[in-house]
Symmetry: C2
Subunit: 264 residues, 2 copies
């Protein structure tokens, strides 16, 4: 919710600034989106305000139930400005998806790298050590890859807490058969799943599995399952005010990996 928060994220997120306007509407080439040389100053501020406003409105009410006029009003800009910066409502949403996903990817990635991120490192110390170490079938191994994955799940949970609106948007759009943004969505899903898959692969490797070791598709399925379970758990906490403790969630999700034995 906090605007300041998002502005930061946007700054670091990098990839999102995207193109300026795009006329010559949809037609064939879905995204020519030429990379106009924008004036550095104000420009992004407006785009940012529009992003924020639409993220929260669309997130909580669904994009169909939100009008462009409302978005403009909430962002404190004119309707014309919305169309100047984004060519259409549809494009706006597409870029919004990209925007949010970049933040998520960033969080996942920094949660998945051993370095950096002192904040969550502190938080981590509660995950495995606590609870009398009841997790993971292999008894006393280092489990560094597993901890990294735990970090990622935790980060995802936190992300949804922070941007419930985006999670909502993602969920309701991602599994639509014929939606605009289908291409974007497929790409975004691929990116996110890629990150998760890589972390999952590390865990399996850590447990002594060779690359061709486990049944076909195991890594992919596990990554999807981990991601899906995390997403649904996180949304449940949000929407139904279920108080699923974070630790329990992390442990449970990680359990998916335990279906495959340590490979003796």
């Amino acid at each position: 919710m906090s605007p300041a928060r998002k502005e930061e994220s946007m700054a670091q997120g990098g990839a999102l600034g995207g193109g300026a306007r795009r006329e010559a509407e949809h037609d064939g080439g879905s995204a020519p989106t030429r990379e106009v040389v924008r004036r550095p100053g104000r420009t992004n501020a407006t785009r940012l305000k529009i992003f924020e406003a639409s993220l929260s409105l669309i997130g909580e009410r669904g994009h169909h139930a939100v009008t462009v006029d409302e978005i403009a009003a909430a962002a404190g800009v004119s309707k014309g400005s919305v169309y100047y910066n984004f060519g259409s409502k549809s494009d706006l949403i597409g870029q919004l998806l990209r925007f949010g996903t970049d933040i998520l990817l960033d969080r996942l990635q920094s949660a998945g790298t051993p370095s950096s991120d002192p904040g969550s490192a502190a938080t981590l110390s509660e995950v495995s050590p606590t609870e009398a170490e009841p997790a993971g079938p292999p008894s006393g191994t280092p489990d560094v890859a597993r901890d990294r994955l735990a970090h990622m799940v935790r980060a995802a949970l936190r992300f949804v807490d922070e941007y419930p609106a985006f999670a909502q948007l993602w969920i309701s759009e991602m599994w639509h058969a014929p939606s605009d943004w289908r291409d974007v969505l497929v790409e975004l899903r691929g990116e996110v799943l890629g990150v998760v898959r890589s972390a999952v692969g590390d865990v399996f490797r850590e447990r002594g599995h060779a690359d061709g070791d486990l049944p076909a598709g195991t890594v992919d399925v596990t990554a999807s399952a981990v991601f899906g379970a995390t997403l649904i758990l996180a949304q449940d906490r949000q929407v139904f005010a279920v108080e699923h403790g974070v630790d329990v969630c992390v442990r449970t999700v990680l359990g998916c990996l335990d279906a495959v034995p340590p490979a003796g």
Copy 2:
């Protein structure tokens, strides 16, 4: 997709036909919807056609993108007839949610009971025994509760294959903060989760856990995670044509339970 298929399901589903209409709708009085004694014959046929049409249309394009006119046309009835049988578009969707959930519940329940269901029993014999029995941390225990849960996951996967449209509708509506059908949704979620939770509880008990044994919330979280992972996995198969093998999916999802050790 096959209309015949759905009609069958409706017939067997039992709980859903609900006989005539279920008026006295949402109290609020918005729909006086008289308590009419419906004529037995034709009545349900029309409602059924409307159900089918809207399920497939709404499922694949989202309820906002589907007009009542379209539904009527697809059902081969007039628009007025839709309003005659259901008071409003919103009511129609609410009843659709109820309709589909009843089928799902039915499937889950019959998959979760040891008796009956020869068809899936046959299918079962491929789940655990196959794959060189690589599942479950406790080595050679009976695992009957676990098998039952596996049955349920399998049934859910099959359900989504059969009614992808409904799964889509469920996913995109379930986690909306302020939607109509909020009440219905909360109730439906509770019912489904209840069934899963009970099965999950059995598994834990089977592993020697007492009722107060495991950390607070474990059963609930596990149930949510199992359900969430299954749903997302199933939809992924549908929407992105990912060929996640059913067996791998079942095994992975069941893994969530392995996060909690057998409790020595």
